[in-house]
């Protein structure tokens, strides 16, 4: 089912938690078609969990998540897998299959879901690898790739089935400046050239702001603020300022909650 609505993903009153811990509490969020939308927030706020909820790998405790007009968690197994063929996801680790080479990794979705002849698969794979600049690395094994290269191969694999959207999980973490620049350019270019929607989960403020059309700031299970990068840069909210300017103390305290320091030193025993 195609939906002509401009909103590709619609999250309404969504809550999620496990082991007695609330990760999301009545979150509402819209992601527009054809745009780069960033979801930012400190580590451990459930940004990756949000991608897994959108992809149907986790089930919210309440509320709805609609992707392209379909309620992800009401779909049958078959329909969910059909929807996933139109969703690409780039995992933080790349999640490449470690026992096959770069070429076979990129060819994997084509071989699993299509009956294309090997000659056509070869051409398609080389085109995707060329788009990420790694056509020459086709015969390398995943263990021979740097972190940045692994993510580029994963990107090539994510676009193999020409999806309507790609979800990027912390794409810039642990990258050197050159790799970071390449990834920033690729996310923007793929978004423009393929006309897909991109969701970037990250805590790298500068890189993400440079490519995002819209940003959601998430913390403590809530959307704290949202807007264009310029709007967020102009925000006067203490929390937003602390996050964007990288301040060590503020609404998110430097000290992990603990009992009174003096009392702990003078009267405390054991751990």
């Amino acid at each position: 089912m195609d939906n002509n609505d401009d909103t590709l993903i619609r999250i309404r009153d969504m809550s999620f938690g496990y082991a007695g811990r609330t990760i999301f509490d009545n979150v509402n969020l819209d992601i527009q078609r054809g745009k780069v939308t960033a979801i930012m927030g400190p580590s451990g706020t459930g940004k990756t969990t949000l991608l897994r909820l959108i992809g149907g790998q986790l089930r919210p405790t309440s509320g709805t998540i609609e992707v392209d007009g379909q309620n992800v968690h009401k779909l049958s197994h078959r329909d969910l897998y059909r929807l996933r063929k139109r969703m690409g996801m780039l995992f933080q680790s790349g999640a490449l299959l470690s026992d096959i080479n770069v070429f076979d990794n990129v060819a994997f979705p084509l071989r699993e879901h299509t009956k294309l002849p090997e000659s056509m698969i070869r051409d398609l794979v080389l085109m995707k690898l060329h788009a990420v600049g790694l056509r020459g690395a086709r015969s390398l094994m995943p263990s021979e790739l740097s972190g940045g290269m692994a993510r580029r191969v994963a990107m090539a694999r994510a676009i193999t089935l020409d999806p309507m959207m790609i979800m990027y999980d912390e794409p810039f973490t642990g990258q050197d400046p050159i790799s970071m620049g390449i990834l920033v350019k690729l996310i923007r270019d793929l978004n423009l050239n393929l006309g897909i929607s991109s969701i970037v989960v990250s805590h790298d403020v500068a890189e993400t702001s440079s490519i995002a059309d819209y940003i959601y700031l998430v913390s403590g299970g809530k959307v704290v603020e949202h807007g264009t990068p310029d709007e967020l840069n102009a925000s006067e909210s203490d929390w937003t300022r602390q996050f964007i300017d990288g301040l060590p103390d503020g609404p998110v305290p430097f000290q992990y909650p603990a009992e009174d320091y003096l009392q702990d030193l003078l009267e405390g025993t054991g751990l």
Partner: protein, 259 residues
Amino acid sequence: MMNVIRILGRKSLHSFGRLGRGFIFLLQILTGIPQLFKRPRLIVQQLYSVGVMSMTIIVVSGLFTGMVLGLQLFNTMQDFGAEQSVGSVTALSLVRELGPVLTAIFFAGLAGTSLTAEIGLMKTTEQLSGMEMMAVDPVHRVIAPRFLAGFISVPVLALMFSAVAIQGGYFVSVSLLGLDSSVYWGQMQNIVDWDDDILNGVIKSVVFGFVAAWIAVFEGYDAVPTSEGVSRATIRTVVHTSLSVLGLDFIMTALMFGD
């Protein structure tokens, strides 16, 4: 006292939870097996890495087991003047008990732990999640071929183990200790029954293969996705498979051979 009850309750709930997950997981695997026959390459690859790669250790272990059996039985039975029965007793112990049981336990320690670690690491490195997001069911694509390969391999390996061990017993009792060759084989031919002994032994190894493969893949899939979690999962594979095989062996022996 309340604490003990609470701990027992928690542990029981945890164990029943795992057992339930294990059975659901097994159902998922079994539903994926018919599709595998359309892609036999996946099974052949796993038969090679699970079965063929275990052959050396099975053959060597079988040889030494047979040699020890031959030596012990010859020395003991000679005291009663019954050394002519060495061939038949060696064969009976092997095809009925030692072949299926030891093969399953060796399989758990070798291929089982390897399967658990491989699947556990695939989970840790998000390869299984990655497959799910590519709309490929990892239980059908990754787990089912490994399960089937384990299930097929154990009975074949058990037969090889018994065959090589019988040769090992022959080498010691006939070639080294001087028992007559025709007595060794003749007694074996007279006593060992195709249905009662060999077929029952094969049935046992089929059951052990099913259990060993199931435990190995489940422990990998259910592992906590950390290095410590995978390490614990491999230990559980060996412990649970060995105990299950020994327990099932007693039950099946009682059913098959108990009068």
